[in-house]
Structures are given as C-alpha cells and as structure tokens.
C-alpha cells in the first residue's frame, strides 16, 4: 500500500466575486494533483495564471469554491490550528515586521508555537548565521538590503523545521546576482531539511534548477504540462523540457 499523499488537490476550483457584481473571476478550475512526502515540486506559469491562488489554498489562506484540498490528511482551512508549526512559507516579498529586529522576525513562528524565548532566540540566531547574517541579528528590516531581508524571511520559514515549505517566487524581487546566490543556498537548504517543498516561479531556469518535479499551469490554474526532473539529466534532455514548457507558456499546446 502506497503512503498517503502529503498534499492532495481533488477537482479544486476557486472563483472570486467581482466588485462590479459581474460573473465571478475563475482563478483555479478543476485542479487535481498529489504531492508525496519530501517531494520538491516547482510550479511554473505566467503571471495571473492562478499559481498564487493554488499556493494560498494549500496554506489554508483561501477556501476552495469546489473540490477539496487535503494537506497531511487535514483540511488546511477547517483544521487551522492543527497546522501550527507544520507549514513554512516564503513569500514573494520579505514580509518582515518592521517593528521587529531580524532575530525577532526569524523567531516569530517559534514564538507563536510557544517555544521558550531563550531557545527560540538561539535557533533564530543559528539560522541567521547559516544564511550569512551574523552580526545583523539586532538590525531592523529598514536597515537591511533587499537580499538580506529575503534571507531573514528564508530563515524565518526554515527556523520552525516545517514539514511543508511553500515558496511563492521568493527571488523575483531580487537582482539577478543576489537571486542566483540565494537560489544556490536555498537548494542546499531544501536538500538538508527534507521538507516537502512547493516552489512557485515564472522563471523556467529557476524551476529547472530547483524542482525535482515540474508542473506548468495555464489560466485558469490547471495543469497543462507535468514532468519529473532527474539530477543526471543531460543538457539536451533539459533543452527538450525547456522547449515544451515554452510551448505551453506561449499557449501553443497543452501537453500532459
């Protein structure tokens, strides 16, 4: 008997009412997939294709209009408190609290998980050091550069040792050099922690670099193309995958 999926989407649809009272905006339509424990999945799609809606459905910030979302056997919306400490999220922008220092921001999840202060500060400091922010623990976010702030938000997500890590285009707001440097460190961290990870991106290269499995969404979010990536894939095999993704993204065809 196979292990139950870590994340299950079953014919999920999500529509948002329009402010002008018109027909609801359909962000996700009949989306079904499963993600196994420890998988590293990259979700790729153009802006506005519903990637972030799917992301919010997984982390329980949105409730599906139809179908069901199950994460670790639980409904992420209904069993809200059950997921405390189990999900780590890295957002597109750093979303640091400006009134908290770097170390206090990293320790937020641990604090909400009722970990004693000395312990949580020790863990937060070790994560900051691991991400090259030693000496910046007591700086406020305003005093940090964009790259440093995003490192703090990465440390915040990893500090709670989550079972599931959700990343919503975490490097898109950074310059190319900083983004590349962080991406490398990030992949290493993902390997070390072994958390089930979902990485949302609109960059083909980023998806190929970070994902072990790749899903391409087309609007309204449904899977147009899906493939598994192997570490020993040749460059020509990768080029084939790139070509197929480009085709799907340009709307030429849907392949699955």
């Amino acid at each position: 008997m196979s292990a139950p999926p870590e994340i299950l989407f079953e014919h999920v649809g999500k529509a948002f009412p329009r402010a002008d009272g018109g027909a609801p905006f359909e962000a996700v339509r009949d989306l079904s997939f499963t993600i196994g424990r420890g998988e590293l999945v990259a979700i790729l799609g153009k802006t506005g294709c519903g990637k972030s809606t799917a992301f919010n459905l997984i982390c329980g910030l949105l409730r599906p209009s139809v179908g069901r979302v199950v994460v670790q056997g639980h409904d992420p919306c209904a069993d809200f408190a059950w997921f405390r400490g189990k999900i780590g999220i890295i957002f597109q922008n750093d979303r640091l609290m400006p009134w908290r220092t770097a170390i206090e921001n990293v320790a937020l999840g641990l604090e909400l998980n009722k970990m004693p202060q000395p312990q949580r500060l020790e863990i937060a400091a070790s994560w900051l050091a691991r991400l090259g922010l030693c000496g910046h623990e007591h700086e406020y976010p305003h005093a940090l550069s964009g790259g440093m702030r995003q490192r703090v938000s990465i440390a915040r997500a990893f500090a709670g040792k989550p079972d599931i890590l959700l990343c919503d285009e975490p490097f898109s707001a950074l310059d190319e050099h900083t983004g590349n440097a962080l991406r490398e460190e990030f992949r290493e961290l993902l390997r070390q922690t072994g958390a089930t990870s979902i990485f949302i991106t609109h960059s083909i290269e980023e998806a190929l670099q970070l994902g072990e499995r790749l899903m391409v969404f087309e609007r309204p979010a449904c899977i147009a193309y899906e493939t598994t990536l192997h570490a020993d894939m040749s460059e020509s095999e990768r080029e084939v995958v790139r070509g197929r993704i480009r085709k799907v993204l340009s709307g030429e065809t849907s392949e699955n």
Binding site: F80, I87, M97, L108, E111, L112, H142, A143
Partner: protein
C-alpha cells in the same frame, strides 16, 4: 503620515530623537517678552505683567486646595480620554470587520461630531445628577468620534501581506493581536491620544465652568467673576502645563515603542 512626511515634520517642529532643541523655549520666551512689553502700555487689568502671572502660578502650586483643583481637572481629562478610547476601540473593531455595522455606526458618529461640546454640557446637566459622571459623560461623548475614526484608520492601515504572513503561522487570536494588530495600531493610537488631549483639555474647562464645584474650569469662572486677569492666565497655564507634561509622556512612549522608525530614518 508616511515616513518621509514624518521626517519632514520632525525637522519642522524641531523635535528629534535623542537631541534637545531650544527653538520652542526661545519662541515661548519671545511671547512672554512681547506680553511684558504690552503690559507696560495697556491697562493692568487687561495685560497683567509676567512676574505677576508667575507669582499667581507659584501660589497655585504652593496651595494644596489649588493643587487638588488642578489634579481633579487632570484626572477628569485622563478618565474621559480613557473612557472614550476604550469605547472608541470597542466600536472601531466591529466597524473594521463588518461593512454593515460600519454603515450604521459611521453616520451616528458623524452626527455626534456635529454636536457642540456645550450642548453635551447642557444635556449632561439635565440627564445626570453626579458632577463627576456628568463631566465623564461630556468628555467621552465629545472625544469618542475622533478616537473611533483614528483607531479604525490605524486598523485599516494594517498590511494585508503581514496579516497573511502572520496567519500562515496559525496564531491564536491573542497572539495575532499581540504580534501584529497591536504594533500596527499603536502609532495611530498614540497620535489619537496626542490630538484628543488638547481637545479634551478645552472641553473639560467648559464642562467644569458650567457644571462643577472644583477644578480649573471652576477656578477660571471665579477669576472671571472678580475680573482677575492674572489669576485667569495662571489657571490657564496650569492646564497648558498639564497638557504639555502628558504630551511629553506620550512622546516618550512613542520614542520608545516606535524606535524602529528612528532606525529607519538613520537607514
């Protein structure tokens, strides 16, 4: 107010973190000098000299009866503000969360804003017997709309991104309030206290003038009846000093609680 506007306002007022500026004292000294010069040319009962006013002020601070009057007024201001703040917060929270409730509450608060403080004084005198409750009622009714609107605005200014981020950690309601809502609304609340403090000081005097047997307003009425300008100014200064002291205290809290903004200015 944005960060940039805040910095500009700091430059304009001459207030800064950890630095003392003399401009305020120089301006007040200049006003006293102009008054003193005027007192040399204008009848004494209209413009008493600065030393005479200072003498009356000293007399107030050395008489237990006068001090208790000043303290009574201060306590009334603080109690009224605390009541209005509490009630305003209780009203603002459901207004922020329910558009329907807001549609009912907003016009009522707007209507209240149009009622003059003196009308509330008359209403309070007719409705209630106890002097202290009358004044408390007047203070609450006159400062309630401003507190409600300011707390509501502060709550609405909360970042949706930060709210979602915090929610993703599955906080309890209390933790959500402690870690996100309170730090978000605190700057607005401190501003509301500073703004309403001045308003409350004006209203309390009117309330005491008509409906009290003690306090600064009552003392001002006594000075008016004996046509004592020096006494009236001295009692006015007592109230001004109280407002300045409380405002300094709020600024101190602001400097401490919002110190991350000072760091932001440096950055």
């Amino acid at each position: 107010m944005t960060l940039g506007e805040g910095a500009a306002s700091t430059r304009r007022t001459g207030r800064s973190f950890g630095k003392f500026h003399y401009e305020g004292i120089v301006a007040l000294a200049g006003l006293a000098l102009v008054w003193q010069i005027a007192s040399l040319f204008v009848p004494h009962f209209l413009f008493p000299s600065v030393p005479e006013i200072a003498e009356r002020l000293f007399a107030i601070f050395t008489s237990w009866q006068s001090i208790s009057d000043a303290l009574a007024t201060s306590a009334r201001i603080l109690a009224g503000l605390a009541g209005a703040f509490l009630l305003g917060t209780i009203l603002a929270m459901p207004m922020a969360r329910s558009a329907t409730f807001e549609r009912y509450a907003y016009p009522l608060l707007n209507f209240n804003q149009g009622i003059p403080a003196l009308s509330w004084v008359v209403i309070a005198i007719i409705w209630f017997r106890g002097i202290e409750f009358r004044i408390f009622f007047i203070m609450v009714m006159t400062t309630l709309p401003a507190f409600t609107f300011q707390v509501l605005d502060a709550y609405r200014a909360m970042s949706k991104d930060l709210f979602e981020m915090t929610l993703a950690f599955r906080p309890t309601r209390l933790d959500l309030f402690r870690t996100l809502i309170w730090p978000t609304v605190l700057p607005g609340i401190l501003t509301a206290w500073k703004v309403n403090l001045g308003n409350a000081a004006r209203v309390v005097v009117v309330a005491e003038l008509v409906g009290a047997t003690g306090g600064v307003g009552y003392e001002l009425l006594q000075q008016q009846q004996i046509f004592d300008m020096a006494g009236a100014l001295a009692w006015t200064l007592v109230l001004v000093i109280f407002v300045l002291v409380v405002q300094s205290f709020i600024t101190l809290i602001e400097t401490r609680a919002l110190r991350y903004r000072a760091f932001a200015e440096h950055a």
